[in-house]
C-alpha cells in the first residue's frame, strides 16, 4: 500500500501547523510595525516612521519565506487573516519597548519550532529554520539598541528629536570588530 501521506508532503501535520502559525505571527508583526510607522509619522517622528516601515516590509519577507517553504514541501500554506491591529501607542518610548517585546516573542517562537523539529526528527525543516534563528540575533539587537537610546540620550529638551534621528543609523555588524 502506497504511503499517501508522505506522497502529499514531507511535512508532518504538526510541523505544517506550527509553520502556518509562524506565518501568521510574521504577518501580525508586519502589520504591527506598519501601525507603529503610522503612529510615528503623525507624531512627528519622521525617521522612526521610515525605520518601522522598513521593518514591516522585512516581516512580510519573513512571512513569504516561510510560505514558500511550506508550499515547496507540498504542504498547505495558509494566507493568514490579520485583524485587530493596534492603532494607538502610549508614548514614543513605548513603541520601541513593544517592538523589542515582539522580537523576543518571535525568537522564542522559533526556538520552540526548532525544538519540535528535533523531537520529530525533521532535520530538513530544522535546517531551514537556521536562517531565521540567525536573523533574530540581528532583530533583537537592533530593537534593543533603539530602546537604549532613550536612556543614553534622554527624552528631555530636544532629546526625542535626537533619538529619532539616530534610529535609522543603528546597524548590526556581524563581525568580531563591530
Amino acid at each position: 500500500m502506497k504511503d499517501l501521506l508522505r506522497l502529499r508532503t514531507s511535512l508532518t501535520e504538526e510541523i505544517e501547523k506550527v509553520l502556518n502559525e509562524q506565518i501568521k505571527m510574521e504577518a501580525d508583526a508586519s502589520a504591527m510595525y506598519l501601525a507603529m510607522s503610522a503612529w510615528c509619522d503623525r507624531n512627528g517622528f519622521d525617521f522612526s516612521a521610515g525605520y518601522f516601515k522598513k521593518q514591516s516590509d522585512e516581516e512580510r519577507e519573513h512571512m513569504l519565506r516561510l510560505f514558500k517553504y511550506v508550499s515547496d514541501m507540498g504542504g498547505r500554506a495558509v494566507s493568514p487573516d490579520v485583524t485587530g491591529v493596534q492603532i494607538e501607542f502610549e508614548s514614543f518610548r513605548s513603541v520601541f519597548e513593544q517592538a523589542l517585546q515582539q522580537e523576543i516573542a518571535v525568537t522564542q517562537s522559533f526556538n520552540r519550532i526548532a525544538d519540535r523539529c528535533q523531537k520529530s526528527k525533521d532535520y530538513v525543516t530544522f535546517t531551514f529554520l537556521q536562517w531565521f534563528l540567525k536573523e533574530q540575533i540581528e532583530e533583537e539587537y537592533v530593537a534593543r539598541r533603539a530602546l537604549e537610546l532613550f536612556d543614553v540620550i534622554g527624552e528631555e529638551g530636544t532629546g526625542q528629536y535626537e533619538i529619532d534621528k539616530r534610529i535609522p543609523k543603528i546597524t548590526y555588524e556581524d563581525t568580531y570588530e563591530g
Binding site: M1, K2, D3, L4, L5, R6, L7, R8, E13, R76
Partner: protein, 127 residues
Amino acid sequence: MNQPQVNPGGTVQKTQTMQEIFTTESGAVYQCDKRNRIFVDFAGSVTAYKIDAFLRLKKAVDSIDLSSMANNTDRCSDYELITLCGCDRMYVLSLPEVYNFKELLSGARFVLELNSMLHECLYAQVA
C-alpha cells in the same frame, strides 16, 4: 475524476489496487493505489477523496462539538451539516452519526500514519 467506482448497490467495487484500511459497523475507508484516492463509505454512499481533502474532512468532523450538539435544544442543532470546499459530497448527520463518523475517520487516519511509519522503517532496512 473524483467520481468513485460504485456499483448500483452503492458499495465500493473492489479492485486489486483498492485496500480496506479501516472498517467499523457504520462504514469503511479504502485506499486506491492506482488513483491515489481515499474512498469513504459512510451514510449510504461512497465518496472519493484526495488525501488532502480526506485530511480536511477529518478536521471538519473533529471540530464538531458533540456535547454542545447534545445539550442544545434548538431543532437546528439536531443535525450537523458537513461540507468541504471543492467537494460535491455533503453530509447531514445526526449526533450518533457524527460520533460514528469521527471514529471511522480517526481510525483510518491512524492506519495511514502507521503505514507511513512502516514505509519509513522498510526503506531504512533496505538502505
